[in-house]
Protein backbone atom coordinates (compact mmCIF):
# COMPACT_ATOMS: atom_id res chain seq x y z
CA UNK A 1 0.00 0.00 0.00
CA UNK A 2 2.76 2.46 0.92
CA UNK A 3 4.54 1.62 -2.33
CA UNK A 4 1.40 2.52 -4.29
CA UNK A 5 1.18 5.82 -2.40
CA UNK A 6 4.80 6.56 -3.28
CA UNK A 7 4.19 5.79 -6.95
CA UNK A 8 1.16 8.10 -7.06
CA UNK A 9 3.12 10.90 -5.39
CA UNK A 10 6.04 10.46 -7.77
CA UNK A 11 3.62 10.85 -10.66
CA UNK A 12 1.77 13.94 -9.50
CA UNK A 13 -1.11 12.68 -7.35
CA UNK A 14 -1.03 13.84 -3.71
CA UNK A 15 -1.92 11.13 -1.20
CA UNK A 16 -2.67 10.56 2.44
CA UNK A 17 -2.42 7.12 4.07
CA UNK A 18 -4.71 6.36 7.03
CA UNK A 19 -3.23 3.42 8.90
CA UNK A 20 -2.56 1.58 12.15
CA UNK A 21 0.88 0.01 11.53
CA UNK A 22 3.07 3.01 12.19
CA UNK A 23 6.45 1.32 11.90
CA UNK A 24 5.58 -0.40 8.61
CA UNK A 25 4.27 2.74 6.91
CA UNK A 26 7.12 4.91 8.21
CA UNK A 27 9.70 2.35 7.15
CA UNK A 28 8.35 2.41 3.60
CA UNK A 29 8.19 6.24 3.83
CA UNK A 30 5.13 8.01 2.42
CA UNK A 31 4.28 11.66 1.88
CA UNK A 32 1.46 12.01 4.44
CA UNK A 33 0.44 9.50 7.09
CA UNK A 34 -2.41 9.77 9.57
CA UNK A 35 -1.54 7.27 12.28
CA UNK A 36 -4.48 5.80 14.20
CA UNK A 37 -3.32 3.72 17.17
CA UNK A 38 -6.05 1.08 16.81
CA UNK A 39 -5.93 -2.67 16.08
CA UNK A 40 -5.29 -3.80 12.51
CA UNK A 41 -8.70 -3.63 10.85
CA UNK A 42 -9.94 -0.34 12.31
CA UNK A 43 -7.80 2.43 10.81
CA UNK A 44 -10.79 4.73 10.23
CA UNK A 45 -12.26 4.52 13.72
CA UNK A 46 -14.11 2.03 15.88
CA UNK A 47 -16.91 0.12 14.11
CA UNK A 48 -20.20 2.04 14.13
CA UNK A 49 -18.70 5.06 15.91
CA UNK A 50 -19.76 7.52 13.23
CA UNK A 51 -18.70 10.62 15.15
CA UNK A 52 -15.19 9.34 15.76
CA UNK A 53 -14.86 8.12 12.18
CA UNK A 54 -15.91 11.54 10.95
CA UNK A 55 -13.25 13.26 13.04
CA UNK A 56 -10.55 10.87 11.84
CA UNK A 57 -11.59 11.40 8.22
CA UNK A 58 -11.46 15.17 8.72
CA UNK A 59 -7.97 14.82 10.19
CA UNK A 60 -6.90 12.96 7.04
CA UNK A 61 -8.31 15.72 4.83
CA UNK A 62 -6.60 18.39 6.93
CA UNK A 63 -3.30 16.53 6.61
CA UNK A 64 -3.75 16.24 2.86
CA UNK A 65 -4.12 20.01 2.67
CA UNK A 66 -1.66 21.16 5.28
CA UNK A 67 1.44 18.98 4.96
CA UNK A 68 4.34 20.90 3.42
CA UNK A 69 6.93 18.13 3.24
CA UNK A 70 7.12 14.36 2.75
CA UNK A 71 7.14 11.86 5.62
CA UNK A 72 4.73 13.97 7.61
CA UNK A 73 3.09 11.76 10.25
CA UNK A 74 0.17 13.00 12.34
CA UNK A 75 -1.03 10.96 15.32
CA UNK A 76 -4.83 11.07 15.35
CA UNK A 77 -4.67 10.91 19.13
CA UNK A 78 -7.30 8.31 19.94
CA UNK A 79 -7.14 5.42 22.42
CA UNK A 80 -9.02 2.16 21.76
CA UNK A 81 -12.15 2.11 23.94
CA UNK A 82 -11.54 -1.46 25.16
CA UNK A 83 -8.06 -0.60 26.42
CA UNK A 84 -4.61 -1.47 25.11
CA UNK A 85 -4.46 -5.19 25.91
CA UNK A 86 -4.56 -6.00 22.20
CA UNK A 87 -1.12 -4.46 21.81
CA UNK A 88 0.46 -7.12 24.00
CA UNK A 89 -1.25 -10.08 22.36
CA UNK A 90 -1.33 -9.35 18.62
CA UNK A 91 1.04 -11.62 16.69
CA UNK A 92 1.84 -13.89 19.61
CA UNK A 93 1.65 -17.72 19.61
CA UNK A 94 -1.25 -17.49 22.11
CA UNK A 95 -3.26 -15.69 19.44
CA UNK A 96 -2.64 -17.31 16.05
CA UNK A 97 -2.93 -14.49 13.54
CA UNK A 98 -4.53 -16.54 10.82
CA UNK A 99 -6.40 -19.57 12.06
CA UNK A 100 -8.29 -22.41 10.44
CA UNK A 101 -10.04 -21.38 7.24
CA UNK A 102 -8.15 -18.13 6.94
CA UNK A 103 -4.78 -19.84 7.04
CA UNK A 104 -5.92 -22.44 4.51
CA UNK A 105 -7.19 -19.69 2.21
CA UNK A 106 -3.83 -17.97 2.50
CA UNK A 107 -1.96 -21.19 1.63
CA UNK A 108 -4.32 -21.81 -1.32
CA UNK A 109 -3.63 -18.35 -2.68
CA UNK A 110 0.10 -18.86 -2.37
CA UNK A 111 -0.19 -22.08 -4.33
CA UNK A 112 -2.38 -20.45 -7.00
CA UNK A 113 0.20 -17.69 -7.37
CA UNK A 114 3.05 -20.19 -7.74
CA UNK A 115 1.05 -22.10 -10.34
CA UNK A 116 0.58 -18.92 -12.38
CA UNK A 117 4.31 -18.28 -12.14
CA UNK A 118 5.06 -21.83 -13.31
CA UNK A 119 2.67 -21.37 -16.21
CA UNK A 120 4.37 -18.14 -17.18
CA UNK A 121 1.25 -16.06 -16.62
CA UNK A 122 2.94 -13.73 -14.16
Amino acid sequence: MSLIARHLEANGIPTVVIGTARDIVESAAVARFLFVDFPLGSPCGEPYDDAQQKQIFQQALDLLENATQPQTTVDAGYAWSQGDDWKATVFTPEQPYLSGDAEQAWLDRKEAYRQLQRDGDL
Binding site: L3, P14, G19, D49, D50
Partner: protein, 165 residues
Protein backbone atom coordinates in the same frame (compact mmCIF):
# COMPACT_ATOMS: atom_id res chain seq x y z
CA UNK B 1 1.12 2.82 25.69
CA UNK B 2 3.40 3.16 22.69
CA UNK B 3 2.48 1.76 19.29
CA UNK B 4 3.06 -1.88 18.32
CA UNK B 5 6.32 -2.61 16.53
CA UNK B 6 4.82 -4.83 13.88
CA UNK B 7 8.05 -5.42 11.99
CA UNK B 8 9.76 -6.88 15.08
CA UNK B 9 6.59 -8.57 16.33
CA UNK B 10 5.81 -10.38 13.08
CA UNK B 11 9.41 -11.46 12.63
CA UNK B 12 9.36 -13.13 16.06
CA UNK B 13 5.89 -14.52 15.51
CA UNK B 14 6.59 -16.19 12.18
CA UNK B 15 9.88 -17.59 13.48
CA UNK B 16 7.88 -19.16 16.33
CA UNK B 17 5.48 -20.62 13.76
CA UNK B 18 8.28 -22.34 11.88
CA UNK B 19 8.81 -19.85 9.04
CA UNK B 20 12.53 -19.27 8.80
CA UNK B 21 12.83 -16.36 6.41
CA UNK B 22 11.47 -13.09 7.81
CA UNK B 23 9.47 -10.85 5.48
CA UNK B 24 11.56 -8.01 4.11
CA UNK B 25 9.47 -4.90 4.70
CA UNK B 26 10.18 -1.93 2.46
CA UNK B 27 12.72 0.55 3.79
CA UNK B 28 13.17 3.98 2.29
CA UNK B 29 14.95 7.07 3.60
CA UNK B 30 12.97 9.54 1.55
CA UNK B 31 9.51 9.87 0.04
CA UNK B 32 8.23 11.64 -3.08
CA UNK B 33 5.85 14.52 -2.44
CA UNK B 34 3.26 16.29 -4.57
CA UNK B 35 1.51 19.33 -3.08
CA UNK B 36 -2.20 19.85 -3.58
CA UNK B 37 -2.77 22.24 -6.45
CA UNK B 38 -6.30 23.29 -5.54
CA UNK B 39 -8.57 23.18 -2.51
CA UNK B 40 -10.16 19.83 -1.65
CA UNK B 41 -13.54 21.51 -2.09
CA UNK B 42 -12.68 21.76 -5.79
CA UNK B 43 -10.83 18.44 -6.05
CA UNK B 44 -11.79 15.01 -7.30
CA UNK B 45 -10.71 12.68 -4.49
CA UNK B 46 -10.14 8.93 -4.94
CA UNK B 47 -10.29 6.21 -2.27
CA UNK B 48 -8.18 3.04 -2.28
CA UNK B 49 -8.48 0.06 0.09
CA UNK B 50 -6.60 -3.18 0.81
CA UNK B 51 -9.57 -4.77 2.56
CA UNK B 52 -10.41 -6.97 -0.44
CA UNK B 53 -13.66 -5.04 -0.55
CA UNK B 54 -16.51 -6.97 -2.13
CA UNK B 55 -20.15 -6.35 -2.98
CA UNK B 56 -23.06 -8.68 -2.26
CA UNK B 57 -25.01 -9.33 -5.45
CA UNK B 58 -27.58 -11.74 -6.82
CA UNK B 59 -25.52 -14.05 -9.03
CA UNK B 60 -28.66 -15.27 -10.85
CA UNK B 61 -29.64 -11.79 -11.99
CA UNK B 62 -26.52 -9.65 -12.20
CA UNK B 63 -22.79 -9.75 -12.79
CA UNK B 64 -20.28 -9.16 -10.03
CA UNK B 65 -19.96 -5.35 -9.83
CA UNK B 66 -16.27 -5.70 -8.96
CA UNK B 67 -13.98 -5.38 -11.98
CA UNK B 68 -10.63 -7.12 -11.62
CA UNK B 69 -7.66 -6.30 -13.84
CA UNK B 70 -5.71 -9.51 -13.13
CA UNK B 71 -4.78 -12.08 -10.51
CA UNK B 72 -4.74 -10.21 -7.19
CA UNK B 73 -4.21 -6.93 -9.02
CA UNK B 74 -5.96 -3.59 -8.74
CA UNK B 75 -9.75 -3.78 -9.02
CA UNK B 76 -12.57 -1.26 -9.01
CA UNK B 77 -15.84 -1.02 -7.12
CA UNK B 78 -18.80 1.13 -8.28
CA UNK B 79 -18.95 4.19 -6.05
CA UNK B 80 -22.75 4.24 -6.04
CA UNK B 81 -22.91 0.84 -4.32
CA UNK B 82 -25.34 0.94 -1.36
CA UNK B 83 -23.45 0.85 1.93
CA UNK B 84 -25.12 -2.31 3.23
CA UNK B 85 -23.88 -4.35 0.27
CA UNK B 86 -20.18 -3.93 1.09
CA UNK B 87 -18.14 -6.51 2.91
CA UNK B 88 -14.43 -7.26 3.30
CA UNK B 89 -12.88 -10.52 2.18
CA UNK B 90 -9.52 -10.03 3.85
CA UNK B 91 -8.66 -12.04 6.95
CA UNK B 92 -5.56 -9.94 7.60
CA UNK B 93 -6.64 -7.95 10.62
CA UNK B 94 -6.74 -8.35 14.39
CA UNK B 95 -9.72 -10.68 14.68
CA UNK B 96 -9.37 -10.79 18.47
CA UNK B 97 -9.68 -7.05 18.97
CA UNK B 98 -12.06 -5.78 16.30
CA UNK B 99 -14.37 -6.66 13.40
CA UNK B 100 -14.84 -5.60 9.78
CA UNK B 101 -18.63 -5.56 10.17
CA UNK B 102 -18.82 -1.80 9.62
CA UNK B 103 -17.24 -0.87 6.28
CA UNK B 104 -16.63 2.65 7.56
CA UNK B 105 -14.28 1.37 10.25
CA UNK B 106 -11.76 0.30 7.62
CA UNK B 107 -12.82 2.14 4.46
CA UNK B 108 -14.52 5.51 4.99
CA UNK B 109 -17.22 5.28 2.32
CA UNK B 110 -20.00 7.00 4.26
CA UNK B 111 -17.62 9.57 5.72
CA UNK B 112 -16.39 10.46 2.24
CA UNK B 113 -19.93 10.74 0.91
CA UNK B 114 -20.76 13.08 3.80
CA UNK B 115 -17.70 15.20 3.01
CA UNK B 116 -18.87 15.57 -0.60
CA UNK B 117 -22.39 16.45 0.58
CA UNK B 118 -20.92 19.04 2.98
CA UNK B 119 -18.76 20.55 0.25
CA UNK B 120 -15.53 19.66 2.09
CA UNK B 121 -14.57 17.51 -0.90
CA UNK B 122 -15.51 18.59 -4.43
CA UNK B 123 -16.27 15.30 -6.14
CA UNK B 124 -15.34 11.64 -6.11
CA UNK B 125 -14.78 9.35 -9.09
CA UNK B 126 -17.43 6.83 -10.12
CA UNK B 127 -15.41 3.96 -8.66
CA UNK B 128 -13.34 3.06 -5.62
CA UNK B 129 -10.01 1.29 -6.04
CA UNK B 130 -8.83 -1.88 -4.36
CA UNK B 131 -5.36 -3.37 -4.04
CA UNK B 132 -4.35 -6.66 -2.47
CA UNK B 133 -1.81 -7.22 0.27
CA UNK B 134 0.69 -8.74 -2.14
CA UNK B 135 3.88 -10.15 -0.72
CA UNK B 136 5.79 -9.62 -3.94
CA UNK B 137 7.29 -6.15 -4.01
CA UNK B 138 7.92 -6.59 -7.72
CA UNK B 139 4.22 -7.21 -8.33
CA UNK B 140 3.28 -4.09 -6.40
CA UNK B 141 5.88 -1.87 -8.07
CA UNK B 142 5.55 -3.17 -11.62
CA UNK B 143 1.87 -4.00 -11.76
CA UNK B 144 -0.35 -2.68 -8.99
CA UNK B 145 1.10 0.79 -8.55
CA UNK B 146 1.11 1.61 -12.30
CA UNK B 147 -2.42 0.16 -12.66
CA UNK B 148 -3.67 2.29 -9.76
CA UNK B 149 -2.05 5.37 -11.30
CA UNK B 150 -3.58 4.67 -14.71
CA UNK B 151 -7.05 4.19 -13.27
CA UNK B 152 -6.81 7.39 -11.26
CA UNK B 153 -5.56 9.31 -14.29
CA UNK B 154 -8.46 7.98 -16.35
CA UNK B 155 -10.77 9.29 -13.65
CA UNK B 156 -9.00 12.68 -13.36
CA UNK B 157 -8.24 12.12 -9.69
CA UNK B 158 -6.64 15.17 -8.03
CA UNK B 159 -5.79 13.54 -4.69
CA UNK B 160 -6.08 10.07 -3.16
CA UNK B 161 -6.83 8.64 0.28
CA UNK B 162 -5.25 5.21 0.77
CA UNK B 163 -6.37 2.98 3.60
CA UNK B 164 -4.45 -0.21 4.41
CA UNK B 165 -6.38 -2.56 6.69
Amino acid sequence: MTHVRYIDRTREYYLSQGYEKPYAWSENDQAPFTPLTKPLSESNVGLLTTSELAVRYDADREANPIEETGFRSVYSIPADTPLERFYARTASFDTYATTLDDVNGFFPVARAREAVADGRIGTMPSRYYGAYNNYSRRKVLEEEAPDALNMMREDNVDAAILVPV
